[in-house]
Symmetry: C2
């Protein structure tokens, strides 16, 4: 169970978190592959690269120098997609011409200004490691830095604003409990205005559009709530209203019971190949209890999250014995969440990796997937079984 | 207009066809690119490749032989994602165990069986051409074959079923008006059961997961209405109910008036970089009058559509002087559309090409785009201006 038959027949599965369907065609893996091969990832990088804009002590594009950091380091992206200040835009002004046309323009040519701040966050001073090479002790400072940057983007209750965001006091408590930053390293100053959402994401590997192998992720904080987290929050909210329970709490419980899609778990965290996975080896990292945002985790839970992230990275690399590419991201409550939004949010982390059959053969989500709906070849149960078997030591001994 | 300011500031634009937003960051193109380079597409392919499973007269994977066709040829995909017959699946059977768990399973682990038929459709007997190399006279048989296969998937009014699909008589009239197939070439027999939707799509270039350069597209007809056309139909329906007009008719009219996103047009067809384009050089091909499906086009309109497709292909290739990769697809009314569904449908064709700056530098829709929302760098107005300038002859003289 799931009924064995789903291993053989084409079917759709429903993703209750997004409210959308995908097509599963398990027999398609018999198809021979004559298309593009991925380049095997570069091996033997130096521990320090004088040309890398992320290595400690190096100069960056706009002339700033990195400190000699020893675990993580955060700076404002030199090519930010959104900025704190920009010329104002009033939507109405896009409509000129005849009155009827005006009306059409207002409906069919809608735009809104987006401000915000984009950061780059390094995982390690070492140029040639990845999360898979790092121990969970090495990863803990990464989780702490994610937590710190999220917390620091929520105005504190002492701020001038009359009613501080709902999560502000929890953020302040959490900030106070984090270990201090190392000397010489500081977070960039938070934006002057309260932003709406913070997306933490990692693009790993050149196949995922990553242009620098130095281990890092990005953080884009915006004045708007983006589509994906907005859609998820909508679905989590309806579920909670209808059932008085959390969609993802119920889901975690069900998967622990069913076992077949579970990859790994510790006391705090569950790793599953979700029922509705689109990418061949997609996983969902779920806290077992209701956690609204990173600021809700205790120190011990952060350690266990670091351990879970290490498990994902190592199992991925072991699967095809390569540097496994992926994009990952954390979904959590909006920065300025109302009480209802915060309480309906359930933090989780997605990993979307493109490889399908080997280090060089990927799944392309192209024609049918773009025009009609996502389609996958192997089942999530098959993927979970393989990832369960990929535990133990990292396949490579040396970097 | 759009207000000049949108060339400089980060903003979101709304896609009324999908009902979703995307992020536009025009200044991001200043970012230097040090990541993955696309392999330049193979040049100098032979006109006939004895190993190609699409060339005339060759043997295919499952042993069938292709006829000696001279324009187009359609066959059932040897590795179909969906099939006409498969073991039955009843959703209820997935729920076993305790009653409470049953309930969770029914909500959180939903699946449904999908049947259908997948075809491959070649554009030309010549192995080494693309739509860009073909004249609109060469492309006309492609449009006719798309029309024929769509029409042949609607049971005729004379079928045994008591009430034939709403579009059946128009499909029969259209079929009768098409020129006959060439001798020795026939369409595969249509499925025994009326299917719900037909997705015609092309993956062009190895960057788009295409594994055979012989010019071809695919046709997947399914018992279910996939997510994308379903979402579009929903939005077109609400718009028409509210305004008593067609969303895409209004949009075409507005763009013809505004001009800045128009790439090209003839009497029948408009090519625009839509206001809400996600891919750098994405275009939308729109009929100027209300056309529900391919079977509504007259013979002359089919010629003009062939001409428009030739324009897209040639301008794309001229832009960076390369074989421009893309996925394209036609959205139209469901095969078994009710009267309301058919009348609310407005046929259109999407082209999603990944290249951003040159033949080797593409846009990756990865981390932020997957986790938060689509993000683009150049504006659609800038893209349209460049594509307008890419007309005239195809840059390459020889194949
Ligand atoms: O069927 P093809 O062309 O071999 O395969 C290609 O198109 C399919 C439909 O978009 C995708 O599912 C595959 O990932 C892609 O490689
Ligand atoms: O900012 P980077 O890492 O240079 O760029 C990468 O990630 C961005 C955010 O997902 C994408 O928009 C880019 O297409 C991709 O190349």
């Amino acid at each position: 169970m799931p009924d064995e038959i789903l291993n053989d027949i084409s079917h759709r599965r429903y993703n209750p978190l997004r409210g959308s369907w995908l097509l599963v065609s398990p027999h398609r893996t018999k198809r021979p592959w004559q298309g593009q091969q991925e380049a095997p990832s570069k091996s033997s990088l130096p521990e320090y690269d004088p040309k890398c804009y992320l290595c400690p002590g190096n100069k960056r594009a706009q002339g700033d120098s990195n400190p000699s950091y020893t675990n993580t380091f955060v700076f404002v992206n030199d090519y930010s997609a959104v900025k704190e200040e920009q010329a104002p835009y009033s939507p109405g002004s896009n409509n000129s011409g005849a009155e009827e046309e005006d009306d059409l323009g207002a409906t069919l040519l809608q735009a809104q200004s987006v401000t915000g701040k984009c950061y780059v966050l390094t995982f390690s001073p070492q140029h040639n490691v990845t999360l898979a090479d790092m121990t969970s002790d090495d990863i803990l400072p990464v989780v702490e830095t994610w937590t710190r940057i999220y917390a620091s983007h929520i105005s504190s209750p002492s701020s001038s604003s009359s009613s501080p965001p709902y999560l502000a006091s929890q953020a302040a408590t959490c900030l106070a409990s984090l270990p201090p930053l190392e000397p010489g390293v500081s977070l960039p100053s938070p934006p002057k205005q309260q932003l709406r959402y913070m997306q933490i994401f990692e693009n790993k590997g050149s196949a995922m559009g990553c242009s620098n192998p130095h281990p890092h992720c990005q953080v884009w904080a915006t004045s708007t709530l983006p589509e994906e987290p907005s859609m998820e929050l909508r679905n989590m909210t309806s579920y909670r209203r209808a059932k008085k329970r959390h969609l993802l709490a119920d889901y975690a419980e069900l998967e622990i019971e069913r076992k077949e899609r579970v990859v790994w778990q510790n006391e705090t965290i569950l790793i599953v190949c979700p029922w509705w996975a689109v990418w061949p080896y997609e996983v969902l990292v779920l806290p077992k209890r209701h956690v609204r945002t990173l600021v809700d985790f205790t120190g011990d839970e952060r350690k266990q999250l670091a351990e879970a992230i290490q498990e994902v990275g190592r199992r991925y690399d072991n699967l095809f014995e390569c540097h496994f590419p992926y994009s990952s991201g954390i979904h959590q409550a909006p920065l300025d969440a109302s009480e209802e939004e915060a309480e309906n949010s359930y933090l989780h982390m997605h990993f979307y990796p493109p490889l399908l059959r080997s280090a060089t053969v990927r799944k392309f989500l192209v024609g049918y997937e773009m025009m009609a709906e996502p389609q996958r070849d192997i089942t999530p149960e098959q993927a979970a079984a393989r990832l369960r078997d990929c535990g133990a030591e990292l396949y490579r001994k040396d970097l």
